[in-house]
């Protein structure tokens, strides 16, 4: 069970469309900003790595102290990025696959503009539930 975990979804134009702190530890203000900074800095590494493989799950691409960044890239170049301190790779892969399915459901909503922020509370609740289950 991960104590710290920060999850963001970055669209194809490099704009984050969803972010959430999904760890089970108590939230701290400075930690949240640090997590976002680490994830955004890892975007460059993801960019290079995404072209070298045709797999979707890129495992861990970057590390900072004892925190690891894992990334899952979809065919439309949407990146699901997770910052965590656990080593449970299978759990993380299942988490990404389930969130991918939820993301497709959001996309299928005709009133959702692709590339805009995901504001659905339903989506948020489900992502947090999935995080508790798999991470």
């Amino acid at each position: 069970m991960a104590n710290t975990a920060c999850f963001i979804i970055v669209g194809r134009n490099d704009i984050p469309i969803y972010e959430a702190e999904v760890g089970s530890a108590a939230k701290r203000e400075d930690a949240a900003q640090l997590h976002q900074f680490i994830l955004h800095a890892a975007l460059d590494v993801v960019q290079d790595l995404a072209w070298t493989t045709s797999a979707m799950f890129l495992k861990s691409v970057d590390r900072f102290n004892d925190l690891v960044v894992s990334v899952y890239v979809t065919a439309g170049h949407t990146r699901l990025m997770l910052l965590h301190d656990s080593r449970n790779e299978d759990g993380i892969k299942s988490f990404f696959q389930e969130v991918h399915e939820l993301y497709i459901k959001i996309l299928l909503n005709p009133l959702y503009l692709p590339g805009s922020r995901i504001t659905s509370t339903h989506f948020d609740t489900k992502v947090r539930a999935l995080a508790r289950k798999y991470l």
Binding site: A75, G76, I104, K105, P114
Partner: protein, 173 residues
């Protein structure tokens, strides 16, 4: 994510969409109606591409993405594959479908064709123009799928011989 709908609903909805846009919203402005329908197709293609690429690994080059459209995507949307794919290896692809599903029930009366032939546009009759309105939606879908996979392009359709339909994809380099 796998509920089913009768195909007649899809056919009726497409007919109604073209009728509304070319008859009511943009009457006498076929270019605007065409662009609007194509934009709807673009959004649909965008959504469908994410949905149908979920299970498979990502694409390494343009040809892989075009082959995905010819085989998997066309089977999911039209229940058959593209019959013929041609390319000039310089960014142009021609996808030929010998019995395009959405046009399979379109019939053009040849006698009315001769009467209403417009002398100023000798190559194109009114019937062909009417049928071409129905092709903007699939062109938009193809463009949406390719744009989401990272390949900006322009798609046009050619119906010189019904029910065979060719889609010409020009990749913007």
């Amino acid at each position: 994510m796998g509920r089913e709908v009768a195909e007649s609903c899809v056919d009726t909805m497409l007919m109604e969409m073209v009728a509304m846009y070319s008859g009511r919203f943009y009457a006498n402005k076929p270019e605007l109606a065409a662009r609007r329908i194509e934009a709807i197709g673009y959004q649909v293609g965008h959504q469908l591409s994410e949905r149908y690429t979920m299970e498979r690994p990502r694409f390494s080059d343009h040809l892989e993405a075009i082959k995905f459209i010819c085989k998997d995507f066309w089977s999911e949307v039209f229940k058959k594959q593209i019959d013929n794919l041609k390319t000039n290896h310089r960014g142009t692809f021609v996808l030929q479908d010998n019995k395009f599903r959405w046009l399979s029930r379109v019939s053009i009366d040849p006698s009315s064709d001769k009467e209403t032939e417009d002398p100023s546009t000798p190559g194109e009759s009114k019937a062909a123009q009417a049928v071409s309105m129905y092709l903007y939606f699939p062109c938009g879908i193809i463009r949406g799928v390719l744009s989401n996979l990272g390949i900006p392009c322009a798609v046009s359709a050619d119906i010189s011989s019904l029910p065979t339909c060719s889609f010409v994809i020009r990749v913007k380099a």
